[in-house]
């Protein structure tokens, strides 16, 4: 009763309606891409993805079976079959045999074929072609139909994008490259930062406050500044573009947030616990590994998720430190940008490739949302 929601029924409805509207606005773009990734190139190009959920009226160009399938029945050459692929159930409303008059006939009517003979098409797509002479040529007759097709989805795009061996569309390799970048770049900074965070939280030494301030300051330094100096540094000490360089760069760039998050968390652990351990004669190293590290698990998990999402989704660092001219070490984000450039119109490839790269972070996100939220709350400078 002390909130906007809940004072008056009208207001309560307004609240529900506006939240629903916001959720729809936020989800729709992603949903569009997800649905598009299950549609064929033709479907995507000819109708909006929101139509694909309902039966849709479409103009299709189909072909009868080739003349080689004809049989002789009572002196007539006959070709029979169904215009649609097996498994497709559609309702034809109009059809034609010429591209200039695609709606000339109703289902059940019979049309003259230009190359001789006639054809009858019913509403389900069954057709019968008859001719007194033999049908010639290598391909079947073209039939233009206006039909209502049920929603249809395919896994073909995923098959093509993930498994095509030689294809330039393949994301399989980029997927593993991304994984190869991400995992070491997530694990190593945690360990390095945890020790430093413990020293900053629980050890007394001159300059501690200054160091913490420096970490807070470095938190916002744009990594754009680091690109050229580090590239030069790497080259001068013999680290070429490649995995080692990108792992080191991610470790460095992730360090301020890692130290900041972990220090804040560790500083909040009960003082008695650590002092009792010290009195009992535990060394600092033992206190850290046996006491602090296990107790800091939530903060470690928070940072791990951040770093994972950030390295998985990164484009800039990978472009600068990892991807060389051979393109063997390309990551998914970079592949997608290339696809946007070269195949901007191939939505089935783009949508699927994007979803392959989005899927893993989404799973991590929904599985570990609790830690992510906790990390965000601890990580924003208060």
């Amino acid at each position: 009763m002390n909130d906007i929601a809940g004072t008056k029924p009208a207001l309560r409805w307004a609240v529900h309606a506006s939240v629903l509207l916001l959720v729809v606005l936020w989800v729709f773009p992603t949903l569009g891409l997800l649905i598009s990734s299950f549609r064929t190139a033709d479907q995507i190009a000819t109708s909006g993805w929101w139509r694909s959920l309902f039966p849709s009226e479409q103009n299709l160009t189909l072909r009868s079976a080739a003349p080689e399938t004809q049989v002789l029945e009572n002196g007539l050459y006959v070709i029979k079959g169904n215009l649609f692929d097996a498994g497709v159930t559609a309702k034809i409303s109009q059809w034609g045999v010429s591209s200039r008059a695609i709606d000339a006939f109703k289902p059940g009517e019979t049309a003259e074929l230009r190359r001789g003979g006639e054809i009858t098409v019913d509403a389900d797509g069954n057709y019968r072609m008859e001719n007194t002479e033999e049908f010639s040529g290598s391909r079947g007759a073209r039939v233009f139909v206006t039909a209502e097709l049920p929603p249809e989805f395919t896994l073909g795009n995923y098959h093509k994008v993930l498994l095509a061996e030689d294809s330039t569309d393949s994301m399989g390799k980029a997927f593993f490259n991304t994984l190869t970048v991400t995992i070491p770049a997530t694990i190593i900074p945690i360990l390095v930062a945890a020790f430093a965070a413990y020293a900053l939280a629980w050890m007394d030494f001159p300059g501690r406050a200054l160091l913490i301030a420096a970490v807070v300051g470095l938190l916002v330094v744009p990594l754009q500044l680091a690109l050229i100096p580090l590239l030069k540094l790497h080259l001068s000490i013999g680290i070429p573009k490649g995995y080692l360089g990108v792992w080191l760069a991610h470790t460095g760039f992730g360090m301020p947030l890692a130290i900041y998050l972990l220090r804040n968390y560790m500083a909040g652990l009960p003082r008695d616990l650590i002092e009792n351990a010290r009195v009992d004669g535990a060394t600092e190293f033992q206190i850290f590994t046996k006491l602090i590290l296990p107790l800091s698990f939530p903060a470690l998990a928070s940072f791990a998720i951040f770093q994972f999402l950030w390295t998985w989704n990164d484009l800039l660092v990978a472009k600068v430190f990892l991807i060389d001219a051979t393109g063997q070490t390309t990551v998914m984000t970079n592949r997608i940008v290339e696809l946007l450039g070269t195949r901007g119109g191939n939505w089935e490839i783009l949508a699927t490739a994007a979803f392959v790269s989005i899927a893993v972070p989404l799973v991590v996100f929904f599985a570990m949302q609790k830690y992510l939220v906790r990390g965000l709350l601890a990580g924003s400078v208060k």
């Binding site: 190593i188 430093a196 680091a226 600092e284 484009l315 208060k382």
Partner: protein, 335 residues
């Protein structure tokens, strides 16, 4: 060597290297340099305890110094020099900055960046606050929040693809497959628009992508802040007959002012670094250039390290006020 194997090896070497370093350096300190026995036990223990923090800090400080602090100064130096073909550098003073200031593309990037700096933090914070407030007491609030939070997990590149489909344009006689054009036509628009090529407004279409991503962040932080408001203040306002809007704007918002400011500045930092969205969606064409992408162009396409570094310094300069503010807040909190 297969990269996956190389990766595993790196994890093994990295992790055991770290643990080994910390363990061994502590052992050396306690057993060899300043053993806690013999005639100088007290002095030794004290000395060991003075050195130990630096053992714990050393790898992290090395990484911070080398990967973040050093580049700031090196970039400053590079921005004041030019590369001599064939190797070496020569001091050119502020020439790079002058050259940059003479380029219309730079001012276009500055203008757009300013727009981004105003629009994105404002919209994200406003939407975040709105969602946080509206979902606070409704039963499916958590589901709604999770869905609005979700874009946070999506890469800027992925988001660019998602929104490119929203903005897609087909010729007038075809069915529109981009939902924005479909709606535009549905509500009586004459011609489908190519949204990303309309100067000035196209920047806003790019900003929407970042607002879409950042709203979840603002919402999470502000929602926690709203829950932290003492109940009594709200109850008192209700007893005094305040209406819901008064409660929200006069009681709640003033109490979470600092959090709003934190959210605002954090998003501001993100905006200053925004690169991927512009790079993937327009690459700065049609007057959508921003500083980070301008810098990338200069560094890696034009190979002009001088001007590239100068533009990086401009970004650094814009970040500096927030940097100082953050450091001061952190110090205040520690005392």
């Amino acid at each position: 060597m297969h990269p996956a194997f190389q990766g595993l090896l790196t994890i093994a070497i990295g992790v055991s290297g770290c643990v080994g370093y910390f363990y061994l350096s502590n052992q050396v300190l306690d057993k060899v340099l300043f053993p806690a026995r013999g005639p100088n036990v007290g002095r030794n223990i004290n000395r060991a305890n003075m050195i130990r923090p630096w053992l714990f800090l050393f790898p992290a400080l090395l990484a911070l110094g080398l990967y973040l602090a050093y580049p700031v100064f090196e970039t400053l130096r590079l921005s004041l020099t030019d590369r001599i073909p064939g190797g070496g550098y020569k001091w050119v003073g502020l020439d790079n900055y002058r050259q940059m200031a003479a380029e219309p593309k730079f001012w276009e990037a500055m203008r757009n960046n300013m727009l981004w700096l105003i629009v994105v933090p404002a919209m994200s914070t406003a939407f975040g606050l709105l969602v946080a407030q509206l979902t606070d007491r409704i039963r499916w609030g958590n589901v709604a929040k999770a869905l609005i939070f979700m874009p946070m997990a999506i890469s800027f590149v992925g988001a660019s693809v998602i929104w490119k489909l929203v903005y897609d344009t087909r010729p007038a006689e075809q069915d529109q497959i981009g939902i924005l054009n479909a709606l535009y036509i549905f509500f009586g628009g004459a011609e489908p628009q190519t949204w990303l090529t309309i100067p000035f407004w196209n920047s806003f279409f790019l900003m929407i992508v970042l607002v879409w991503i950042q709203t979840g962040f603002a919402m999470v932080i502000l929602s926690a802040a709203l829950r932290g408001i003492p109940e009594e203040t709200i109850e008192a306002a209700v007893l005094d007959g305040a209406n819901p809007f008064q409660i929200f704007f006069r009681i709640k918002v003033p109490q979470i002012k600092t959090t709003i400011l934190v959210v605002w500045t954090t998003i501001t930092i993100t905006v200053l670094k925004v690169f991927d969205i512009v790079f993937a969606m327009t690459n700065g064409q049609w007057e959508t250039q921003v500083l980070a992408n301008y810098m990338f162009d200069k560094l890696f396409r034009a190979n002009d390290w001088g001007v590239g570094s100068a533009s990086a310094m401009v970004i650094m300069l814009l970040v500096t006020p927030i940097l100082i503010w953050n450091v001061r807040n952190a110090r205040k909190e520690m005392q």
